[in-house]
Amino acid sequence: MIRHPFRGLFGGLLLGIGLALVLMQLSVAPLGQVTVLTVVALCTALGTILAYALPARSHP
């Protein structure tokens, strides 16, 4: 089984940055001043975890 943890990490980082930028521009900051850092950290961790946890791709 070949895994891509760094791709997952980078994807999570991008997702976090994008989500944080969306939240800022929508004036949504549920965690106050740490909203951006928390969202980016959580998404980065999520991306890394999903790179291991997502079901394997099926090949025809």
Partner: protein, 193 residues
């Protein structure tokens, strides 16, 4: 000729400096003070904030309102401190920004004033709620720091930066999806005729 990027940054710089330099905004420590006012597109008063002190505005629940087509003016004082050979740094949501610098302040100035048009040189309209903070340190241990919330008013979903942010998030999600594990092992090489 300055690039559009430099111009975009210059307006952002001035706006953030209005909130964070030479004294940061609203929650101020170190003896510095700041009074700040914004106007709308017609030049009519929009919002006021001052610090330090309760009820000055610029909090998350009562952010300092800024109109992209309007202006911002400020009066800042470093109190009894004189910031010689100082350096300053700004942050947005605690993330350091390229907006930083320093000055020898050879004239020993302790008061700064200014006015700037918010979006007059920027290529994109930006809206949203932002936590801005900053610090300034000078010779002899002089120091001030502070923070505040500002809200750029407007319709977010009609701005380019919003959709760029959506695009970044979607790209990230797609990258995560493509990071799914797959079976490895033998590689079959051959030609299809």
């Amino acid at each position: 000729m300055r690039s559009s990027l430099v111009r975009a940054f210059s307006i952002g710089t001035i706006l953030i400096l209005a909130l964070a330099h030479p004294v940061a905004a609203f929650e101020l420590n170190g003896g510095c003070t700041l009074e700040i006012a914004s106007t709308d597109a017609t030049g009519a008063p929009l919002d006021l904030a001052s610090g330090p002190g309760a009820g000055g505005g610029g909090t998350q629940s009562d952010p300092f309102l800024v109109d992209w087509d309007g202006g911002v003016s400020w009066v800042g004082s470093s109190g009894e401190q004189v910031f010689n050979n100082h350096g300053w740094q700004t942050f947005v949501f605690l993330v350091p920004t390229p907006v930083r610098g320093g000055d020898p302040n050879e004239d020993d100035e302790t008061v700064g004033t200014g006015t700037v048009g918010v979006g007059e040189n920027a290529p994109f309209r930006i809206t949203g709620l932002y936590y801005v903070s900053g610090t300034i340190d000078g010779e002899g241990g002089t120091h001030c720091d502070g923070s505040g919330w500002l809200q750029l008013t407007g319709n977010t979903v009609t701005t380019i930066p919003f959709w760029l942010a959506v695009l970044i998030a979607v790209a990230g999600a797609a990258l995560i999806w493509s990071s799914r594990p797959h079976a490895g092992g033998t590689t079959v090489q051959g030609r299809v005729s």
